[in-house]
C-alpha cells in the first residue's frame, strides 16, 4: 500500500539497478528541481544549459566535500539528462551511471538527499509517470507484470495484455450487453403496460457465446499461471537413483549434496531452470524407499509424496543397474500413478547392460534412457519437459491470462453470466435478472477500465520495487 504522497513535486532519488556488486549502477533522480539539484554536485558543467537527452562525464561531489579546499569526489560518473516532459516520469530526470559498488552508490544517494532530495517509495517513479499522463493504468499494470516476469513467455503474455489482449473482446461484450440492460431497466420503470422491450432470445445467445469465451480465458489462466510462476517439476525415484546428480546436470552446477550413500538428500531442494522461455522449478526429493528406519528420512519420504501430488510435472528416475525384481517393478509402478504428468527416465544407462535397459522399458515404454553422470540424453529430457507443457493446446499467439487479479474478476464475470442464463431459463422477473446484468457489467468494467477498483491500484503499485 502506498501512503499519501503529500509533496509529489519534490525531488526523489533511488537506485534503479539491482542492489549489489555489479559493473555499474544507475541512480535515478526525478522532480521539478532535479537538474538544479544535481547541478550543485557536478561542478564541471552547467547542466541547466545542456540539451535534453544528452550524456555528460565528470566527477560528482557532495555539498560538504565541495566546501573543502581540496574536494574529494564521490565517483566519476556519466549523467544522462532528460528534461520534462520527455522523460519516463514526465518530470526533469537525471540518471547517474556510477561504479557498481554498494558503498559508492550509498554515498551518492546520501549526498543527493543532503542536497534536498528524498528517497523514493516503491513504485513512485511509475506513479509520477502515471500522474503526469505518461501512461494509463492498463499500461502501468502491464509494466508491473513485465517487471515481475522472469521468462520470455511471461513477458510475451504481459506485452499482449498491454496491447489490448482480451480486453477488446470484453469491451465488445460490455458494449453489447449495455443496450440489453437499458431495455430491461426501461421495462421496469415503464411497467404500466406489461411489455418486454429486451429480446430475451438474443440476450441468451449473446451470453451463451460470452460464457464460452470467458471459460476459455479462465482456462488459459492455469497455463498463464504456469508461464508466470514456472512449472513445478518433482524429481522422484529410489534412493541413489541419481536424482541429485540429474538436478546438478540440468543446472550444470553443484547445488544438491551429492554422495553415493543412499538417503543423503533429506530435504527437498528447489532450483529454477529456463527451457526455451518457460520456467521450470525443479524439486529434488528425498529418495523413496518403502521401508526406512531413519526417522528424519521418513519425514523426507512423506514430503516427497506430497510434492508428487502438488507438482505440475514429475520426473521419475529409474536406476537401470537395479535388479529387475518383482519388488523393484512394483515400486517403480507405484510412482507411475500420475502417468499423465510423469516423464520416466532410465538413468545410469551407460553403466547398465542393454538387456537391463530393455527390461525396464517393458514397464515404462516411453521412458528416456540417459546418464546423469555422463550428461548424455539431458538435451532430450529438456525437450521432453518443454513438450509436456507446451502441447498443441497452447499456442503462444493465443491470449493467455497471467494476472491473478484478472483471473479473479473473470471468475466473477462468469458467475454473473451463469446466473443471468439461469434467470432467463427460469423466467425470473426482470428486476432480479437486472441485478446479475449489472454485476456482469461492473466486473467487465473492472477489466476494461470503465470501472476502477482499488485492487487494481494495489496490484500495480505494490508490484513495483524502489527505483521503478
Amino acid at each position: 500500500m502506498l501512503g499519501q504522497f503529500s509533496n509529489w513535486n519534490d525531488t526523489i532519488v533511488a537506485l534503479a539497478t539491482p542492489p549489489g556488486i555489479g559493473a555499474i549502477g544507475v541512480i535515478r533522480v526525478s522532480g521539478t528541481h532535479a537538474l538544479e539539484l544535481i547541478n550543485q554536485l557536478f561542478p564541471k558543467k552547467d547542466l541547466l544549459a545542456q540539451k535534453t537527452h544528452t550524456l555528460h562525464v565528470g566527477f560528482l561531489y557532495s555539498l560538504k566535500a565541495l566546501q573543502a579546499p581540496q574536494p574529494q569526489p564521490l565517483d566519476e560518473v556519466v549523467l544522462a539528462l532528460y528534461k520534462a516532459p520527455k522523460s519516463f516520469t514526465g518530470e526533469n530526470v537525471v540518471e547517474i551511471n556510477c561504479h557498481g559498488s554498494q558503498y559508492i552508490q550509498q554515498q551518492i544517494i546520501q549526498a543527493i538527499c543532503a542536497a534536498g532530495a528524498r528517497l523514493a517509495k516503491p513504485g513512485e517513479f511509475t506513479q509520477r509517470a502515471f500522474l503526469n499522463g505518461k501512461m494509463d493504468l492498463t499500461q502501468a499494470e502491464a509494466v508491473a507484470d513485465i517487471i515481475a516476469s522472469n521468462t520470455e513467455a511471461s513477458k510475451n503474455a504481459a506485452l499482449h495484455t498491454m496491447r489490448g489482449g482480451f480486453s477488446h473482446a470484453l469491451s465488445a461484450l460490455r458494449d453489447q450487453l449495455i443496450p440489453f440492460s437499458a431495455l430491461i431497466e426501461l421495462e421496469l420503470d415503464f411497467s404500466g403496460e406489461d411489455v418486454e422491450f429486451a429480446d430475451r432470445t438474443q440476450l441468451y445467445q449473446l451470453l451463451n457465446t460470452a460464457h464460452a469465451q470467458v471459460q476459455q480465458l479462465l482456462q488459459s489462466f492455469q497455463l498463464g499461471n504456469v508461464i508466470k510462476q514456472g512449472v513445478s517439476v518433482a524429481i522422484v525415484g529410489k534412493p541413489n537413483a541419481g536424482k541429485s546428480t540429474l538436478l546438478n546436470q540440468l543446472l550444470q552446477e553443484e547445488r544438491a549434496i551429492v554422495s553415493s550413500i543412499a538417503g543423503t538428500t533429506r530435504d527437498t531442494i528447489e532450483e529454477v531452470l529456463n527451457i526455451n522461455g518457460i520456467l521450470f522449478r525443479l524439486i529434488d526429493t528425498a529418495g523413496i524407499r518403502t521401508q526406512t528406519s531413519d526417522e528424519i528420512e521418513q519425514i523426507g519420504v512423506a514430503k516427497s509424496f506430497e510434492k508428487i501430488e502438488e507438482a505440475n510435472l514429475v520426473v521419475h528416475l529409474i536406476d537401470a543397474t537395479e535388479a529387475f525384481s518383482s519388488e523393484a517393478q512394483e515400486a517403480a509402478l507405484a510412482l507411475q500413478t500420475k502417468a499423465n504428468k510423469t516423464v520416466t527416465v532410465i538413468n545410469k544407462s551407460d553403466e547398465a547392460s542393454s538387456q537391463q535397459v530393455a527390461q525396464w522399458l517393458t514397464i515404462a515404454p516411453n521412458a528416456l534412457a540417459i546418464s546423469a553422470k555422463a550428461g548424455t540424453g539431458i538435451g532430450t529430457l529438456k525437450e521432453a519437459l518443454f513438450n509436456a507443457v507446451v502441447t498443441q493446446s497452447f499456442d503462444m499467439g493465443n491470449t493467455v491470462v497471467t494476472n491473478a487479479r484478472h483471473a479473479h474478476v473473470l471468475a466473477q464475470i462468469q458467475e454473473a453470466i451463469t446466473d443471468i442464463l439461469f434467470g432467463l431459463n427460469n423466467h425470473t422477473p426482470g428486476d432480479l435478472i437486472a441485478i446479475d446484468i449489472r454485476r456482469c457489467l461492473h466486473y467487465l468494467g473492472e477489466l476494461t477500465g470503465a470501472v476502477t477498483h482499488e485492487d487494481q491500484l494495489d496490484y500495480i503499485f505494490s508490484k513495483f520495487c524502489i527505483g521503478k
Binding site: T428, P429, G449, T452
Partner: protein
Amino acid sequence: MEQYDVIVVGAGHAGCEAAAAAANMGSRILLITMNMQTIAQMSCNPAMGGIAKGQIVREIDALGGYSGIVTDQSMIQFRMLNRSKGPAMWSPRAQSDRMLFAQKWRELLEQTPNVDFYQDTVKELVIHHNTVQGVVTGMGSTIHAKAVVVTSGTFLNGIIHIGEKQIGGGRMGEKAATGITEQLVAFGFESDRLKTGTPPRIDGRSLDYSKMEEQKGDDDITGFSYLPLPKLTAQQQHSCHITYTNSTVHDILKTGFDKSPMYAGRIEGVGPRYCPSIEDKINRFADRDRHQLFVEPEGFNTVEIYVNGFSTSLPEEIQKLALQQVPGFEKAKFFRPGYAIEYDFFPPTQLTNTLETKALQNLFFAGQINGTTGYEEAACQGLMAGMNAHLKVHHQPPFVLSRSEAYIGVLIDDLISKGTDEPYRMFTSRAEYRTLLRQDNADLRLTEKSYRLGLAKEDRYRWMQEKKTGVQEIKTWMQETSIEPQEINDLLIEKNSAPLTEKQKLSKLILRPNIELPEILATIPSFQNLNNTYRPETIEQAGIQVKYERYIEKEEELVQRMKQLEELPIPTQFDYGKIPALSNEALQKFTKIRPHTLGQASRISGVNPSDIQILMVYMGR
C-alpha cells in the same frame, strides 16, 4: 420581529417537510407562504407514490417526515404496483382526496411545536458576508433567521401558457414570485428555465364510465406509514378508470400545434421527457395510434376528475374538442383547461450534498427550484434540507444518505453531481442497489439514523426495533423448521410447483417462485401461532429477506466493492490544477462541482475512468 432558526420559503411538499423536520428536531421555524389556504396543494395529479416514488414516500416516513402519514389519512384508493415482479419493484401508490391532503398537512403542521406561519411573498434574501441571515417580504418587512430554505416550486418568474395566451403566475389563479432569481444571479448563481404541464379538470357527472375500464384498489391496504395508524378500508375506496385516445383525437390536437406555445417557441424551458404532454406523445410516438388515459377522482366529496395522461397547453377549444372524442368523454364538461407553466430553477450542481448552496452559506434549496419534478422528489429534498438547516445552525455534522442507503441518497447525489437539463424524476433504474432500497425495509434502513438525530420519535423507533427482532426470530425459525410433503403438496400443486417427495426446510422451500411465506403460514395449521405473535409486515419482511437473500447479498457485495471509492473524501479546497494528467473537461467539472468523494467524482458526466484513476492514485487511495 423575532429571530428564527430557520425560515422556510414556500409551503408545498418540500416546504412543509422542511418546516416539520427542522421544527421536530428543535429549531424555531417560520413558514412563509403566499397563501395560507394553499398549504400542501397537490398542484398536479391527486396521487402519491408509484414506481420509485412510492419507495421515496416510505423513506420519508421512516425518517419521521409527514408525507406518508398525510397520504394514509387522505387516500381514496391504494394499490401496490408490480406485485408480479421482485420485491424491489413493489411500489405503493395512492389516490388522495386533494382537499383532505392539504387539510391534513396543515393540521399536522399546526400541531407541530415551534412552527410559526406568515402569509406574504419573499422578494429578497438578507445576505451578509456570503451568509444568508433572513428574508425581506413583499410588504417590506425584514425577518431574521440563521438559515433559509427556499422551496419556490413553479412560482419564481412563473408564466402560464394556454394556447396563445400567457399569464404571469405560479399556479392557475395565483401570482408569480419575483426578485430572488435576480438577486441570486447577481451573486453569481446560474439560473435556467424549465416547464411542466397539467391536464384539464373535468366534471365527473358529464362522463360515461360504462365506456371505460374500471381500476379498483387493492383489498389489502398497507399504506405508506410504518406507524400503526388507522388505514382506509377496502370498501371505502374509489375506483379509477382507464380509457384511450384514438387517431381522431390526435388529428384534432394536431390542428392546434401552430398555436401551441411549445412549438411556436414561446416556451424556452425544457419539459419532462418522462411525463410528456399529449402533444409531445403524438409527436414523439407517431406510430402509436392510441395513448392510455387514467381517469382519477379528486376526492371523496367532489365530482372533479383529473385526466392523467392528457397534460396539454393547446388552446382550450382544441383541448375540449379532442377530449370529447375519447370514449366516455363525449359530453365532458371542463372545470378548467390544462396548461403549461414555465419557471426558474437553479442547476443543482451549485449545491453541496446537504442541499446548501456553495455560493451562500446557510441557504438551502429544495424541490422544483433544483430541477426536479414530482411531489415525492420535492418532499424528500425538503426533509433533507430542513434536517441539514437545523444541524447547520446547531453546529452539528451534516446528515447525508449514500446511494446504497436510500433513493433519497441517489436523488441528491444525482442532482449535485450530474445536474439536470430536464425536470428530474426518480426511477428505480437510477438506483444501482435497487434490491437493497425496497419499500418494505425503509424503516430498517433509516429510522435508527433519524432517531439518533432526534427526528424520528421513540414510538417509531421502538416499533421498528420490534419488527427487526421479529424478523430475526422468524428467519431462525425458518432455518430450523422442516415441512412434510403432505402438509404442503396441495398448495404446491395448486401453484404449479413440483410437489415435495421428502421433507424440506422452510428456508429452502420459500426459494421457489410464486411461493410466499404468508401463504405457507396460512396453509399449515401448526404455523398459525406465528400470525398471532408477529405483525404481518414482520412476517412479510422475514419472507423477503430469506427468499431474496442471494440477490441481496450480490448487491451488498458490489456496495462493499465500491466502498473505498465512495468513502474516500476529497478535501473541499483541493487544487485539481496541480495534476497535469487530468483531462481538461475533468479539471473544469471537478473545479466547478467540487465532489465530496471519489465516488461522486466518478459520476460527474464527462469525467472518464482514467481521470478517476489519476485522482485515486494522487490521493494515495
